[in-house]
């Protein structure tokens, strides 16, 4: 069962997304800010990270940069979740090292397809 690390500060979003992902058969680990996200990524070794961009303590871009820089976590695909769907945000997310990005509000089938695409690239765990 693939493990997804969900880094999201908003409680409702976290709740919704984690439950719906779990229903789809994913194991979900959660972090509430960027710093916790980086820590959990290292300790939990998830198969994929869903990273909200606007986070307290450390924002999503910085967290992604750190994860991509560290050797243990660099291979974990990151999907950026952003509330702003402007092209500038897309570029910014990709710049930080995200493998893909999705806009809020979350369209679950769309997100799932992106998750599966990125997980499909992984070597068998």
């Amino acid at each position: 069962m693939p493990k997804i690390l969900l880094v999201e500060d908003n409680e409702m979003n976290r709740d919704m997304l984690s439950r719906r992902l779990q229903r789809r058969g994913y194991e979900v680990v959660m972090a509430v800010d960027g710093q916790e996200g980086v820590a959990l990524a290292q300790s939990e070794a998830p198969d994929l990270i869903l990273m909200d961009m606007s986070l307290p303590v450390m924002d999503g871009w910085e967290a992604t940069r750190q994860l991509k820089a560290a050797s243990e976590t660099t291979s974990i695909p990151v999907i950026a979740l952003t509330a702003h769907a402007m092209s500038g945000d897309r570029e910014k997310a990709m710049e930080a090292g995200c493998d893909d990005y999705d806009a809020k509000p979350i369209d679950l089938p769309r997100l799932l397809a992106k998750i599966e695409a990125l997980l499909g690239k992984q070597p068998p765990s």
Partner: protein, 853 residues
């Protein structure tokens, strides 16, 4: 104002004084005459006469003349015992002289009564002192000759002349200068000055007496220096005002003449005739005081000039001080105003920032709860399904729909707010039109089917690339298409895209027409205004926000284009969006970067290193990038490229993969191994037949062999919804692999057709359009790349998703490394050259811009 009587009295007194003075002068003059003709050597009366006339008004002159005559005749008869007739004759000479002199001076030389200027002194000397006296002397001499026939006319004339001249030159100035004296002048005379004046006079008179009273030769005394007195006059002239000088001259003259008359003085030289004595004396007397007077006048003038200068200076300084004060006041005001302006600007900037912040926050704040509504309602639907509680579903769907509608409204309102606040920016990028249209088509499909409509897309072949704000173009198209869908039932919606050149500029036109309900002219008029949907009831009936077209129009205009509409009620509507193929906007981001203005940065900053063995590519890239303002350095091979990269540290590197010697991958490895160069973004350029780069095809996905079942299933899930036919085409030359795939797919409920190479695969596609293609790259006859290209050429096949299956020699690690290191993998063959170069340009520009920050 004096009364008439008082005036008459005053004038009478003046005349009386004059007459008296005249009489007195006559007595004095009489003392200094020489025998036998008894002509005076010094006649002060002329001076008095002249001065009197000059000091009086014209009207008084006759009275004065009369008084003079009376005085003179009285004197002559009483003192000199002359006959009245003789006296009258003599007097007439004086009258002529004085009147002529005074008249000339007053009338033609406009002399005032006082000798205040040098000019006046000179005029007096010449006109009155010389000319009028000469005239008077002529008359006088005639009188003398008449009375004393033995007298020599010319000598008499000369003596008379000189005597009168002396009288004028010595006496008149004395009177006139004192007449000009004001009370203030007397007051400003300090005690010290008075003492000095007294000292002067005493000394002068003593010395003068010594000189002039010296016995005549041969009993010469030591003091035979008549010119010594000049020193005193000089002293007086330099130190004091003209009245003092004139008085000194007068005193000297009197002294000299008195002594001479006694037979004393330097001019009495034995052996000389009396005449000669008198002449010498008179000459001396004429010149010396005159010189002194002139000097005095000059000095006075200078003093006055100095005083005026000082006054002017002071006034000037005052003015300057005043101006300076005014100026500094103005400066203060200016400084104050500037500060206020700065404050205002800071406040405005702050407000502006607050506005931006507000919009951003609102965006976030408003969307967050909406996300919750939409998300939870969806989730509950799923859970209700699981629990078999289907009757909850419709209500939950309503909540979901309402939430989505609210979100749409929100997005539109925020867009409009941004536009109106001037905060809507353009993000320009170059994109392939065909790709974008395919995207939009797919997105809109559901909406099309909702009202049982059909969508037809016509597009020019080779639409090529467009440089615009992709998001906005998509939004515009989606808006028009969704409107068309909403207002059309069981009809046709047509999207037509054309590209044409007008006046050297290229324009792209998107034309959306429908066979829907159409609009009336009144409705069309209000169309692009926010919140003015064609009809208030249309919102309720057809949904929508009423803002979409207003926003679309703004977006079009921002990009330099426009939107127009044609419609017929009951028949349908057509919307035309016309946009420039190359949108320019100075507000667009990211701006193509100019190299940063810092000399501290290394030479390569802002430059791009192009590594490619093909000289054409190098040249093309050079040209297109330079146009963007980016400096280009090129290398023909890997080693040269690495060397240049180390030297220049460029902001970005484009790297050809297929190169002889050291190929692109090797260069890439080397670049990433070097700590200095690892950070430089690399854009890899590849040609079509590079087997390791699945994404170069524009493939939707890829799998590695041997295929992992779960991965495959996941991918299949993804494409499950798209085409109901559930037909998958497997293109794979290896029979065993083909079978495995087939088996797996069928188990998942898919129908499978197979092909062992590209050519056969094309046939299969023609037979029946599959929903998905699994494609191996390495095949005989027609390999995967060629097949994909061929597929792309057919319009209706372009949208079939392709999952590429590659051999496992490219490890996942490689891919990830690539993902991290390589910006993008671009395919040289599939896009038009311009599009490719433009995309490279964009990428490079953004790399360079990033590096520069």
């Amino acid at each position: 104002m004096k009364t008439g009587a008082a005036r008459v009295l005053e004038q009478g007194a003046w005349v009386a004084l004059f007459a008296l003075a005249y009489f007195g002068a006559g007595i004095i003059g009489n003392i200094f005459y020489f025998e036998p003709e008894r002509v005076a050597t010094f006649w002060p009366a002329s001076g008095i006469f002249l001065a009197g006339l000059l000091l009086s008004r014209f009207r008084l002159w006759p009275v004065l003349v009369l008084a003079a005559i009376v005085a003179h005749v009285a004197f002559d008869t009483l003192v000199s015992h002359k006959a009245v007739a003789t006296s009258l004759f003599f007097t007439s000479a004086d009258v002529v002289e004085a009147c002529t002199g005074a008249f000339l001076l007053r009338h033609f030389l406009s002399m005032s009564g006082t000798l205040s200027q040098l000019k006046e002194i000179l005029n007096l000397a010449v006109v009155a002192g010389v000319c009028s006296t000469a005239l008077g002397a002529a008359v006088g001499a005639a009188a003398v000759v008449t009375v004393f026939p033995k007298a020599a006319y010319w000598s008499v004339w000369q003596v008379w002349w000189f005597a009168d001249a002396l009288g004028v030159l010595v006496v008149a100035p004395a009177i006139l200068t004192w007449a000009g004296v004001t009370r203030r002048w007397i007051q400003t005379m300090s005690t010290r000055q008075m003492f000095e004046v007294s000292a002067l006079f005493v000394a002068m008179l003593v010395v003068a007496q010594l000189v002039f009273g010296a016995a005549s030769a041969p009993a010469r005394s030591v003091f035979d220096f008549p010119y010594l007195v000049f020193l005193f006059l000089l002293w007086a002239a330099l130190r004091f005002d003209p009245p003092i000088v004139a008085t000194a001259s007068l005193a000297l003259t009197v002294l000299l003449i008195w002594n001479a008359d006694q037979g004393r003085g330097p001019f009495i030289i034995p052996g000389r005739s009396v005449h000669e004595h008198v002449l010498a004396l008179q000459a001396f007397l004429a010149v010396t005081p005159l010189s002194a007077l002139i000097l005095s006048a000059v000095v006075t003038a200078r003093r006055r000039a100095e005083r005026l200068l000082a006054e002017y200076n002071q006034r000037l300084e005052q003015q300057v001080a005043e101006r300076t004060r005014e100026l500094s006041q103005t400066l203060d005001h200016l400084a104050h105003a500037t500060r206020e302006a700065q404050d205002a600007r800071a406040a405005a900037e702050e407000a502006d920032r607050a506005k931006s912040q507000f919009l951003a926050n609102m965006s976030h704040e408003l969307r967050t709860p909406l996300n919750a509504i939409i998300g939870y309602s969806e989730m509950l639907q799923e859970e209700a399904e699981d629990l078999g509680q289907d009757d909850f579903t419709p209500d939950l769907q309503k909540i979901n729909a309402a939430g989505k509608h609210l979100l749409a409204l929100l997005n539109d309102i925020l867009d409009l707010s941004k536009i109106e606040a001037g905060k809507m920016d353009l993000y320009l990028e170059t994109f392939d039109l065909a790709n974008m249209l395919r995207d939009v088509e797919t997105t809109v499909q559901l909406l099309v089917e909702k009202n049982a409509n059909t969508l037809v897309v016509h597009q020019h072949d080779n639409l090529g690339a467009m440089r615009a704000d992709l998001t906005k173009v998509r939004q515009n198209l989606f808006n028009l298409l969704s409107n068309a869908c909403k207002f059309t039932q069981r009809g046709t919606i047509t999207l037509e895209v054309t590209r044409e050149a007008v006046d050297g500029l290229e324009w792209v036109t998107f034309r959306v027409s429908d066979t829907g309900i159409g609009m009336t002219p009144e409705q069309m008029a209000k169309l692009f205004q926010p919140f003015a949907q064609a009809d208030a009831s249309t919102t309720r009936q057809y949904g929508g926000t009423g803002l979409g077209l207003a926003i679309t129009k703004h977006f079009c205009q921002m990009m330099g284009g426009d939107i127009t509409v044609e419609s017929e009620l009951g028949k349908g509507s057509t919307f035309n969006i016309k946009l420039p193929a190359q949108v320019n906007d100075h507000r667009a981001q990211p701006a193509p970067s100019a190299p940063p203005d810092s000399e501290a940065l290394p030479a390569g900053v802002g430059a791009v290193l192009v590594i490619d063995d093909d000289p054409t590519v190098r040249e093309l890239l050079q040209r297109s990038l330079t146009k963007e303002g980016i400096r280009v350095v090129s290398a023909a091979g890997g080693e040269e490229g690495l060397r240049l990269a180390r030297e220049l540290r460029p902001s970005a590197i484009t790297l050809d993969v297929m190169m002889p010697g050291m190929d692109g991958w090797a260069v890439l490895t080397a670049l990433k191994a070097d700590a200095d160069l690892a950070d430089i973004p690399v854009i890899m350029l590849t040609i079509v037949d590079d087997k390791n780069l699945a994404y170069a095809l524009g493939a939707s996905d890829y799998l590695t062999k041997p295929v992992d079942r779960d991965r495959l299933v996941a991918i299949l899930q993804k494409y499950r919804g798209e085409d109901p036919s559930r037909l998958v085409l497997v293109v794979e030359d290896d029979a065993a692999a083909r079978e495995i795939l087939q088996h797996t797919l069928e188990k998942e409920g898919w129908t499978v057709t197979a092909a062992e190479n590209g050519r056969v695969a094309l046939q299969r596609v023609a037979e029946q359009r599959p929903a998905l293609i699994l494609l191996d790259l390495m095949m005989p006859e027609m390999d995967g790349f060629q097949f994909a290209e061929a597929l792309r050429e057919r319009e209706d096949w372009r949208s079939i998703p392709i999952v590429v299956v590659t051999a496992k020699d490219l490890t996942a690690e490689d891919h990830l490394r690539l993902n991290g290191y390589v910006e993008k993998i671009l395919q040289k063959g599939a896009h038009s050259r311009e599009a490719l170069l433009a995309e490279i340009g964009d990428l490079v520009a953004s790399c360079v811009a990033r590096k520069a920050r």
